[in-house]
Symmetry: C2
Subunit: 399 residues, 2 copies
């Protein structure tokens, strides 16, 4: 296998796993030497993590073992934590491993890191909906605080959850948590009116940039479920006992979840790639500036639309990039031609908790039950892309 | 109803609820003015609380609504927190209530408080298996620590649980928790060998005073389940990060559960009753010294056996006292004769987790499955005493 081209894929998230799955479909046996590296032995469905974070769905429903997706005859899976990328030497280091991985072609799909916009204390005192480990902790943190309340009834802050950011992640999370709160109240003998769920957003509107009619529908649906909104209100500081907002007001809260934004994985900047706000601006072939053999996809990459505005980082984008990149990698391996990538938006749907959602598909606005069905279809479609019908049947949420 | 005798029962624990249930069976309508006061609107099965504390049984299985036990035509139930007893004025105060409760006969069944033997930091940094609120918190605390571990893998103390005291409560709790740990490891992706469950006892043996053969059986059964014992090792200090034991060694642990002993409810000493180590030494009619109309039962009372040694506080004792006291109260109301109380031990059984127990019943030693069956029978028998067959069917654990 000495002369085979070495393809190294870092990260088995949306971008990485889709690249890998499509590569193994298109490549013959022994046509290339492909390695996939990921810190966990499973792929998780980031777009659904608001549910296990709120405790409305078990996290096992949102992860898939990589073994079950990867054909080990075509791709070698290495479980490991990437600590450094050295593009000039074409090498990658892993934690607790002496030897380094080499490559001819590198795919970086290492996802995102929280963007804190310099808010003091945010990283130390808030939690994020990032991965299986973090959402399990969020679920347990909230429940632990509820369990403590009746032992220290003066601590009403145990029953306050602040969610920073009313973008898609924040909105989807408060929708789920609002559904969960009545169950928590029952479990811990707590009157519902003692509980506060406060969603704070600095921009002048929830879901900034989204259709106003749909935003109004989302906000009023969530308010009916008991969510309080503080819109146009920046969080100034986060500390052990809560947050301080715009006008200096303190909101005491034992739980603060930050969903206010993401930047690229810091490893890409550390590797010396050119970045803009932590993300690598890639060309039409998804290549990093100055490195023709390095491809960056998903949340660590940056692309601009025809008006020159950056696309938001989404699973939709990462998935399309992965599909396209797999074709281009096959072309490179077979000395063929690269084709340019173009993002095609299929629409956007955001869940608002059980049976409720909003979205735009094509030019159509969707609300309520219809939108919620569409959301399920999107999730099922993704499972189909990476694991076919068997995975749809195993992990799909049909009801 | 002015001339009816006022009977006031404080606490709906083993002693109080059994007194109340037997009183209502024996008294006719309008024969006395009976009030039962309890801080919760439910009775809980203290002897089973090690299970919800470990998370092996839902706490709802260990509580019964007082409504379902009390006949409101015969007994008035008042939910409230007793803050002071004034035996000279024959009055009792409740939290957040202006008016006070008056009585002709008072029954004090307010249970126990933790005995800390002056160990520094114990009250602040440990939790106790005391009531529904505290065991729910223990369950969640342990689980929360497990959920945090993979987010901060250097914090191995998150996976260490120290149980102070290897008396009945401590032993029963570690037995349950040892059963639960494999589930927790699975839920949080943690290797079992990372978890430590350490039971620390100052006395030279676990289950001090109990039959040596049974103690050895218990210890080896629990060791096989992964429990570490530190026997003859006093806890010197408890702090935020764990405990310091006998020789100055520190055991880092994010969870410390103290089961090392109980004393009477501090309200009895505050009321001015004579106490010995916080408990009221009662006469053969269960009366407090100098107050012929005040009866103290259960963990706040103190009785001596024929050798002059104090009986340990048990549910068995509280239940028998309650049954006997109900008869004596009826006698008082009907101007009859008081009969002296005598404790009859029915034996002792301690659970060691699922399907395992030890015990002495009569002169017979019981082990393993047989003892575990006996434990279930004892629990069922108690449910029968307070709620008859319907309660047995509703809350009984048969398997
Ligand atoms: C709650 C929530 C809801 C969302 N909903 C939607 C939605 O409805 N639609 C939508 O389009 N987008 C949605 N998104 C955004 C979407 O999830 C992301 O844009 C998408 O996951 C990005 O894919 P990715 O491949 O770049 O990174 P990820 O999917 O985050 O994958 C990165 C992978 O890299 C691994 N990794 C990271 N660091 C290392 C390392 N050092 N070494 C080894 N492995 C590493 C991670 O374990 C992970 O497997 C949502 C996001 C959240 C948080
Ligand atoms: C885990 C565990 C296992 C045990 N196993 C056994 C066993 O197998 N066999 C056995 O015989 N014994 C056992 N015991 C001991 C037994 O549970 C106690 O001895 C028994 O509960 C004492 O009964 P009591 O009525 O005195 O108090 P409790 O049952 O504790 O009841 C006290 C009641 O008073 C209420 N109360 C307290 N303070 C106030 C207030 N200020 N105002 C209003 N209400 C108040 C409480 O809510 C409670 O309802 C065990 C104990 C534990 C913790």
């Amino acid at each position: 296998m000495g002369e085979l081209k070495k393809v190294l894929i870092l990260g088995a998230g949306y971008g990485g796993i889709v690249t890998a799955v499509h590569l193994q479909k298109q490549l013959g046996l022994n046509e290339a030497d492909v390695t996939l590296v990921n810190n966990n032995d499973y792929h998780y469905l980031t777009t659904q993590l608001h549910e296990p974070a709120a405790g409305t769905l078990h996290h096992d429903k949102t992860r898939v073992s990589i073994d079950s997706l990867i054909d080990s005859n075509k791709i070698r899976f290495v479980q490991g934590h990437v600590t450094a990328i050295r593009p000039d030497e074409q090498r990658v280091s892993l934690e607790n491993r002496e030897d380094e991985l080499e490559y001819d072609y590198l795919v970086i799909g290492l996802g995102s890191a929280p963007a804190t916009f310099g808010i003091k204390g945010l990283l130390e005192h808030s939690m994020g909906i990032r991965n299986i480990d973090s959402v399990r902790m969020i679920r347990q943190h909230i429940e632990y605080m509820f369990s403590r309340y009746r032992n220290e009834p003066e601590r009403e802050d145990y029953l306050t959850v602040v969610v920073g950011g009313a973008g898609f992640t924040g909105i989807e999370f408060v929708g789920e948590l609002a559904d969960r709160i009545p169950q928590l109240c029952k479990e811990y003998d707590i009157p519902r009116e003692k509980v506060r769920l406060v969603n704070i957003e600095a921009a002048p509107s929830a879901l900034p940039g989204f259709d106003k009619e749909l935003v109004d529908y989302a906000v009023s649906t969530l308010e009916k479920k008991g969510v309080e909104f503080l819109i146009g209100t920046p969080i100034k500081e986060c500390h052990e006992n809560g947050v301080i907002v715009g006008d200096g007001e303190e909101i005491k809260a034992a739980t603060v979840i930050w969903t206010g934004g993401v930047t690229g994985n810091p490893l890409v900047e550390e590797a010396g790639f050119e970045v803009q706000r932590g993300r690598v601006p890639v060309d039409e072939y998804l290549r990093a500036p100055n490195y023709d053999n390095v491809f960056v996809i998903g949340d660590s990459s940056l692309m601009f639309n025809d008006e020159g505005r950056p696309y938001p980082p989404t699973a939709q984008m990462a998935t399309q990039q992965g599909q396209h990149l797999a074709r281009n990698l096959v072309a490179l391996i077979r000395d063929g031609q690269l084709t340019p990538f173009k993002f095609e938006t299929k629409g956007t749907v955001a869940s608002l908790g059980k049976g409720e959602a909003i979205g735009i598909v094509g030019k159509r606005k969707l609300y309520g039950w219809t939108a919620a069905q569409m959301k399920k279809l999107i999730d099922l479609r993704y499972l189909f892309i990476i694991g076919g019908l068997p995975l749809v049947l195993r992990k799909g949420k049909f009801f």
